[in-house]
Symmetry: C2
Subunit: 197 residues, 2 copies
């Protein structure tokens, strides 16, 4: 029904996460009829960004320079490194506005079942990083999943072996979250990790 080129565009739009056949068609018609100029610019910037964006040599955050702006920032505390699983997690923590240290971005988490070991996610570079630098503390901010926990466990060994302090972000009830709407796993974790008041 769709002409071949429009069908190709619809199929290509489905590359994007969260885009199904209906919304891909809606997007295609929209750029073809109402946003030709902006759509053309999107095509240009997609190609340019994919060509030029690389990972920071120190923390593996996405950026278009050799070292990212966080690693270059003179006022960040270079003695603390927060380990996350993705660039999006760096942005989330930065948006929270409370953290002044540096980062190290893994490529996801360990998953032996899928053949994803320490090398695949960048743990060798992480070891170099904590050995080379004036790092004193490593904050683990990994997913609260089985794989995330396994990865954290693996990293804690490496960190402690080098005499560094390992911490991890707290899991628990979200602020403003009502108890009855929190899932059981989170509630169990929050009870286990209860703190003195």
């Amino acid at each position: 029904m769709l002409s071949p080129l429009i069908q190709e565009l619809v199929d290509a739009l489905r590359t994007l996460p969260g885009v199904g056949p209906k919304s891909a068609q809606r997007m295609a018609f929209f750029v073809l009829t109402q946003a030709q100029e902006k759509g053309h610019y999107l095509g240009h910037i997609l190609q340019k960004a994919i060509r030029q964006v690389k990972t920071c040599q120190r923390c593996r955050m996405l950026c278009e320079t050799d070292v990212c702006s966080i690693c270059k920032h003179v006022q960040r505390d270079k003695s603390i490194v927060c380990v996350v699983e993705s660039p999006a997690n760096v942005i989330a923590i930065e948006n929270a506005g409370m953290y002044q240290g540096l980062y190290f971005v893994l490529s996801g988490h360990l998953s032996p079942i899928d053949g994803i070991g320490p090398e695949e996610i960048g743990i060798e570079q992480f070891i170099q990083r904590i050995e080379d630098e004036e790092v004193r503390e490593v904050v683990l901010a990994l997913s609260a999943t089985v794989e995330g926990e396994a990865t954290a466990y693996y990293l804690v060994e490496l960190i402690k072996k080098r005499g560094l302090k390992a911490t991890r972000i707290a899991h628990g009830i979200p602020l403003g979250g009502e108890l009855e709407y929190v899932d059981e796993g989170t509630l169990a974790k929050a009870l286990l990790d209860r703190t003195n008041i």
Copy 2:
């Protein structure tokens, strides 16, 4: 927080309908980390499609040829023309698989308040079309909104003045729709348009 080029990509992705800041960021990170090749291809096809896709000279459907495949199809009934408000509506009717006539695609509907008159939506070309061709019947398949109804009313005058038959698609309860879940307007319309059994 995001490097300038990544921020530009996030902003450009928000051009797409239904894409807010969170999903734009998710899309950007996804193409930059997990789908560079497919993302690059999407950029290419976006630009190519916007450059090459035009509107069919006969029905104004989007296609990359002068006349679209529906208009060119020898077995379609050239005596019936269905008027719709967008290319997406043509696809919806084609998917329903019951219609064998041709189409005419308006650019939306009349909206005098926004300065959108007959010329802006292609009604001049529609008049030429019904005068030039062997058209006997025009099926109106416009939105069931105030503007859609006003546009239909305007077209019916033009069609009848030329001695052609004007029909419109039925509005009513969707198949399988339970009465209590159908909105009042639709229910009222269904009662008004009741048919003999």
